[in-house]
């Protein structure tokens, strides 16, 4: 199954806005998502925005990226302009939210 459009968008933006190549950018975002419990195949724009704000700066620092906070601010701005499909309602957490009534 392919990665989500929001994930691809963020990785492309990170590749263009930093010294990371394509593989490094995607790997860095995947590691951040692993820490957050999110799946690259289903992650949404609003979820990535939180990851960019709270987890990605540390990952970029560990990769020797200059001004990781500045890079993440730019990524956050880019994500804000990305149009997502929104939640499908069929993720396990969505189903279990419904089951509570």
């Amino acid at each position: 199954m392919a990665d989500s459009p929001a994930f691809d968008f963020l990785c492309n933006a990170l590749e263009q806005g930093s010294a990371l190549d394509r593989l490094e950018a995607r790997g860095t975002v995947r590691l951040a998502l692993k820490q957050s419990g999110l799946d690259p195949r289903h992650v949404r724009r609003d979820e990535l925005a939180v990851v960019v704000e709270k987890l990605l700066p540390a990952e970029l620092t560990s990769r020797g990226i200059d001004d990781p906070e500045g890079v993440c601010r730019q990524l956050g701005s880019a994500l804000a302009g990305f149009a997502d499909d929104g939640p499908s309602g069929e993720a396990p957490e969505d189903v279990f939210a419904r089951l509570g009534g």
């Binding site: 957050s36 799946d39 979820e47 957490e93 189903v95 419904r98 089951l99």
Partner: protein
């Protein structure tokens, strides 16, 4: 011990049916398949399956003929096993709908349920009366326990595995404490069902019988209460319990 056993059965019957009806009413509103599958499963297994097994036993003891018992037992096992199949479909649909291996597992469960249903009806027909079947039909009792434990065990395992990622999201404010807790309770319920099945099969294999004062009755009753408590708190939680769930998550939410 008998009172404990009866109380456990009574509570399980009540909770499973109330939750089952509630989920079906929810499904009517949302048109969601998972809530329909789970609600139907709970009702078929506990609301219809269990009373029917008791009714069929009484009819059998009263001397009903073989043709009547084949019809009644076939209906009972069809409904009970349909309930188990719906529980398996719920698990596949919610957690593994993109995984081919899970579809294969569903197929194997369906085959096992058909074999179990046909075999048990044939076994009861061959035995002729309940006392004889209690001696000759042990393998079918065990198969029932294995299938119930396996289906709900799979459900519980998938919920607990997925919950691990939700706990990480909770720390970032990307998950609801109620949902995380609900998935945990459903997982514990499934694991309890599986454990009960394993223990019961082991005890039956060791020659322990389900009778007043037996450890088999005690174990089954205990796990029945655990199942009921988890279902109740997951799907009919009191306000005070939900407040406690949020308080527990508060340092993470902050």
């Amino acid at each position: 011990m008998v009172v404990f056993g009866l109380a456990s059965v009574g509570i399980l019957f009540l909770v499973w049916n109330v939750v089952g009806v509630r989920l079906l009413l929810l499904a009517r509103r949302t048109r969601g398949f998972p809530e329909f599958a789970l609600g139907s499963s709970l009702l078929l297994v506990a609301g219809i399956g269990f009373p029917m097994s008791v009714f069929n036993g009484l009819v059998w003891d009263a001397g009903a003929g073989p043709a009547t018992m084949v019809v009644l037992n076939s209906l009972h096992l069809f409904l009970q096993n349909a309930g188990l199949m719906l529980a398996a479909v719920f698990t596949w649909r919610v957690f593994r709908r993109h995984d081919t291996w899970a579809l294969g597992l569903l197929g194997m469960i369906a085959i096992a349920l058909v074999v179990h249903g046909v075999g048990m009806v044939a076994g009861m027909h061959a035995a002729g009366d309940r006392a004889t079947f209690a001696e000759t039909g042990a393998i079918w009792f065990c198969a029932t326990l294995v299938l119930c434990g396996g289906v709900f065990g799979w459900a519980g395992l998938e919920a607990l595995l997925y919950r691990r990622s939700l706990v990480k999201r909770l720390a970032l404010g990307l998950a609801s404490p109620e949902v995380v807790n609900r998935m945990f309770l459903w997982g514990v319920m499934g694991v309890a069902s599986f454990t009960c099945g394993v223990v019961d099969v082991s005890l039956l294999a060791a020659g322990v019988r389900m009778e007043a004062g037996s450890v088999l009755l005690l174990v089954t009753s205990f796990f029945g209460l655990v199942d009921s408590a988890c279902l109740y708190l997951a799907f009919l939680p009191p306000r005070r319990y939900l407040d406690w769930v949020h308080r527990q998550a508060a340092p993470v939410e902050a």
